[in-house]
Symmetry: C2
Subunit: 220 residues, 2 copies
Amino acid sequence: MGISKPAAERLARLARFLEQRAEAGKSGFISSSELEQMTGWPSHTIRKDVSQLVSGFPEPQDGADMFSTSAGYDPVALASCIRRVLSLENASHNCCVVGLGRLGSSFLNYEAFAGTPFTLRAGFDSNVNRIEILQGEFPLYPTFRMKEVIPRFDIKLALLCVPGECAQASADKLFSCGVTGIVNFTSVVLSTPPGTAVENVSVLDALGALATRLAFNRLK
Amino acid sequence: MGISKPAAERLARLARFLEQRAEAGKSGFISSSELEQMTGWPSHTIRKDVSQLVSGFPEPQDGADMFSTSAGYDPVALASCIRRVLSLENASHNCCVVGLGRLGSSFLNYEAFAGTPFTLRAGFDSNVNRIEILQGEFPLYPTFRMKEVIPRFDIKLALLCVPGECAQASADKLFSCGVTGIVNFTSVVLSTPPGTAVENVSVLDALGALATRLAFNRLK
């Protein structure tokens, strides 16, 4: 479809930014430099990503006119165009959370999933007591029931919140049960079989990126 | 220094990947395609980033020889070169965590900060009862004491874990107290003053990126 993978990832994130901005009641056109401030990506990267999007359209001119004027981008039109071109519309993904410590259990009543294509269907923990004490909006199971539960709910994505020393073993188990994508909250670098993907979410990476950006601002 | 901001961010993250790999006892050279599998970034991007790094060296040839051979990169030499060129060595950053619900309190005994340039110095919550009940390895304060505590510990970075409806107000407060960088765990898009930076950490963004990557793999 002519869009590079990093561009596709940025665009997917951009769509969410734009939709949140609209939900927060902010309307009006938005310039690529405002988007730079919002996202931290250079404005020329954003313009290039959007132009890749337009070139993916059957009729490029119409696509371009749809969301871009000299005043900037129409945020709602751009977001919906991104979703359409990247086939993110109407997608629905069943997810599970693995490891119900403080971090994992913070997803038990996580309202931010409402209205997104992602639904939490199950939680897993190796500690049976913990499962009995905790209450979520979805059922909780002991880890040994993964093999039965994950295919039953057609779960393809998992939030991995286990201690670091169990991370690879849990990931292997998840992949063997049919999960294809893991959001990895541990600080362990996971080995993955072909056709699967891991997205690392790490406070240390985020702090590192911040420190780099702030140092970069000073060096400029 | 001739390195673009996105490249600097990727390189900083790459350094951490390589160091973790070494800590996990994996040794030997690593190819850019192995790095692609590990990070999700295209191997040509990684090679380009590393070449930007080399061009930032006083003596390019020496720099290149140091960590790159036909067998791949020397992970330890590459990581230390990244830290040196990006001035990430010997840096030390005082951090605080704001909002001590399930997510925020998961940082109270967070061992992964050991050995990193980041140190948690303080936690804040508007609920005084919560502060009295929780115990961390650093002191906890009611939110109204930010103005006194943040400058005292020279805190420049904050982990923002408050509910979405308080996110912008908390961020404004943090910036006004001297914080320059926020890791934003809320799903709110924050407005930021010039000279500051926000790094968004969102499970929804991570899931979105995963879904995009997996869809992309299928389209290829």
